[in-house]
Every structure is written in C-alpha cells, then in structure tokens.
Symmetry: C2
Subunit: 316 residues, 2 copies
Amino acid sequence: VLARLLARPDLFQVTGVAVRNPGTARIPTVPRGLLCGDPAALLERPADVVVELLGGREPARELIARALAQGRHVVTANKALLADELGGLSALAARNGVSLRFAAAVGGALPALEAVRRAAAHGPLRSLAGVLNGTCNFVLDRCAAGDSYAEAVALARAAGYAEADATLDLDGADSAQKLSLLIHAAGGGSLPWEEIPRRGIDSLDEATLARSARQGRTWRLVASAERTAAGWSARVQPLELPPDHPLARPSGAGNALVIERADGEIVTLEARGAGRWPTTEAVMADLFDLSDSWGALAVETAAETAAAGWRQEGAA
Amino acid sequence: VLARLLARPDLFQVTGVAVRNPGTARIPTVPRGLLCGDPAALLERPADVVVELLGGREPARELIARALAQGRHVVTANKALLADELGGLSALAARNGVSLRFAAAVGGALPALEAVRRAAAHGPLRSLAGVLNGTCNFVLDRCAAGDSYAEAVALARAAGYAEADATLDLDGADSAQKLSLLIHAAGGGSLPWEEIPRRGIDSLDEATLARSARQGRTWRLVASAERTAAGWSARVQPLELPPDHPLARPSGAGNALVIERADGEIVTLEARGAGRWPTTEAVMADLFDLSDSWGALAVETAAETAAAGWRQEGAA
C-alpha cells in the first residue's frame, strides 16, 4: 500500500507510518522521521485518513476508534475485527462525519457490500447466499480434479491464494466473517461471526469429492442467511450443487453472491477466472474513492506486517 | 424524494426546494418559505447537499457546477447531462473536495458503476457489455410472447416502465448514455453518448422477433464497448442471443452487465425479476451513502417535475 501511495503524490501525502520494528523495517523511500513503532503516536500527527493494516484485535480496534473520534476517515482490511465491531464503529464514524471503508473485507472483485446495500435500500431482503472464499473454491476444484486435500491446500498456498495458516479459510471462519458484514449491510444489525454455525471444507472426505466430480456435481463452501421473524438466521457449510447453479459457476478463486429481495427480485454477482485480489488493491480502491470525494488526502498507515509487505511490493 | 427526506429528520434537514411553479405546487408539508421558483436562488441558502432533479441541460448544468464550486455535494438523476459533462463535473467535485453522485443514472438494482470502477482499479479492462434498459427488455419479451410492438410499448407504459415518450428508451439513446458513464468509470475518459453509434429496438420487425422466439432465441438491446489501441470503441444494437447467454437471462425489466478484464477475469452482474427502480430510490440510496459518511445533512432539492412527484408520493 505504501509504495502505491508514494506513487501518487498528486493525490496522497504520507504523513506517518507505524510498523512493528521501525529500526529494522526496510522502507527505503520513506523519510525516517515518518516512521514510528507505536500506532497510537500516529494519532498525534496530522492526517485525513488512517489506514489500518495491523490485523488482530488490539491495538487495531483502539486505533480505528480513536481515529474516527478525531474526525479522520479510516480504511481497514481487518475483517475479523469488523465482523465483531462494525455496528459500534460505523455509528462512531457517522457521528463524526467521516467514512469507515473496508472494501478489502468482502468479495474481492465483486462489489458485494454495495450490491447488498443497494438492494436493501430498495426494499427488505429475504436471503443472501454466497461463495465468499477463493481458497476453498480453489481447493475444492483441485480435489475434484483428483488431487488429495493436502496437495490441493499446498497448491493454493503456492499460488498465493492461501496464507501459511489457511485454517480460517478452510474451516469457514473467513466466510462467516464476510457473511456477518453482508448481513450488517442488509440492515440486519449485528450478528457476531462467532455466533454463525459453521462447517468448513476440512469436514469433507476425498472419496465424497471424487464421487461428486464423476457425477458432474460441484462442492462449494456456501455462506447463507435468511431473514426470519426473529432476525437473521445464518450458517456456513459445504454444499453439493448442480453445475449450472449460480454458486457453482465461479471456478478457481472466483466468488459469487445471490441476493434475494422480499419482492422476488434476485440480484446475482459472479466473478469467474478470478485471480488473487490482493489486499493492496482493495485498500487502494477505498483510498481512490475517498480522494474522488475529498480531493488530495494526507494518509497515515499502520501495518503489523509492514516489512513483509514492502518486500513483496519491491521498492517499498 | 422530498417526502422521503422529510420522513428522516434525524438524517436530513430540508433547507430549500425549487420548483417550476412554487405558487401552485402541491407540497403541503413544506413551509412556504422554503419554496422558490428559481434554482439559482437555492445556492444563496445554506446546504450540504443539492439534489438536482430538473432534467434537461440548463439550468441543471449551471446549478450542479455552481453547487460543486461552492463545496456542496450534488446528487443527480440527470443521465443525459452526465453522459456529456461527467469529465468536467467530476474534476470540479474533486477539486472542491465534495462528492458528485448519480446512482440513479445507471443500472437500477445493479451496482454497475461500482463494479466497473472496482474491476478497473485492479487492472485494465478489455470490454463491457450490458443490457441496460428495462423498457426494451420488457417490450422484447412481450413481442416474443406474441404481442405487437405497439401493444408491447403500450403495456410497458401502463406498467410504469416507459415514459409517455419512450423514444429515448426504444431508440437506444438511454443505453448509449449509460454506456458512456460506464466507459468513464472504466477510466476510458469521455466518450460523449451522441458519438456512440446506435440502433434501437424500433428497428426490429415483428416477424423477426416471432421467428426467433419459436427458435428459442432471445433478442436484447446490447450496449457494448471494447478498449482498442485508439481508445474505447462502443455501440448500441439489438442482438439475437442464445437463451443461456448471460445477457439473455434477465427478463422483464432486469438488467445485466458483463465486465471483462484484460487478464481474463470476468465479472457478471445480473438482476432478474426486477421491477421498476424508481429514481426516488436511487437518489435516496445516494443520500443515505452521503449521510453514512458525513452524518446529518442539510439538503436542497430542485425539481422541474415536482408537482407530479408529490402527487405520486402521496403526502408531499
């Protein structure tokens, strides 16, 4: 993200960078004076926007809450935190007249949050169903092609889809976090992601997957929710689908989402042939959106994994 | 729009309303002091947001440009104006740190502009293809079911899909205007809609439509564009499609859009069973988005067709 910000001095001025180890971080193009090791110190400097890439719960939550309370926009990729705290943080953003953005949190190439918000603005929703995790899709496709589960996970890692620890992808936690954010966007209030029952693709056995493939059927990890009289009911589970089902169509790391309105209208979003949608791209999309609305911005970033990030991106 | 604004005093304060005939307009719930007959007079009053529903070229363009220059957000449904002037007006908005929003202009229930912007943020696009006009879809479906063209257009009008003068829908002008906005969102610069070659569904004869229906094929008015070495090339034309084509799937007033990236990723959006997506809903979606980012807002509206609008919405 930092390299991309520095490449657009017409739009963005970087006024501070917090990393875990400012002494050893390899960030050649940032003046040393901008670096600090304490995210809280960022908030004493001038900035229009704070970009939170720390991950985890604290100090990320505290940083976001204080930045919003100071009247600064926040861009974050912290899906797990939002899936617990979005209600309070978005109310705080609204009270302070600033924007809390998290395009990185859901949907990759798909404008999933926007589609849900728009459908809900037009009238109440009946249900949501999505294939929201690219790693699971990739692994299920490889298993259907004959790989073992372990081989498929290793390939997903090698292709850059899966983290070194892919547990949160494979056990459905990532999908549950995204579903929680979509339900919030649907006006369904806060359903903390831990309360969403989930079964991951790690519960499937290889013989089942191979048999389904021979029968021309496709397994997908499906996150789904319906509005009931008692609020939203949700779950994450692997489902065996016919090949022409809208949720079966995306292959590789593709995503799909089906939004059903109470009046019967159905909106479908689908990305096929999707590659990785790196966090960097989604964060930058949020920052470009903000600069569309606000002109040039002074930006601060806080990143736990900064050093790794810079190496990936080359120059910085 | 006004009735909806007045229903949410927690979010919106109406500080002015311009209508063509303030003396005779039936707007019972607005204090007379807020009404005026001159859109320009609105700009002398305090407001965070100006909603432009005048339609046509002037004084709409002048009102939008002056409001943006004063640092006010603008929400507009004026597709034809934007399809000519978006480049200049969005630059003006950016320079003044405000937002120019026009969800009403493209795509109804589909977040078409957002999807194109997001795909383009990730890498260059190769092509766009969409079914962007609900009236044409409706008329083509009715003709396929055996109605005459004139009957189908009359039904579309009775169902509220088509305006009294549906010429801009049927001759492809509406689709060309939307396509121009999508190309701009794709980073393709300004391609004024009048320069997009177009053929409407009024060019089709009923015998052709009936024969296609018997063969299980579907006609759709398709707006499409590709990036070439010389810039974007675009056109609007009726096409005969196989029934499983993504652009053939939406029925009734449904819309669809296929976005192809240069790297081969394909993003598809599709709304089936879509009813009318009234301008009011889209304008309100924009206003809710703004209030999400900015808190409570003081709003002014200018509407040429105010009197009709109030009657439609009942109270005001």
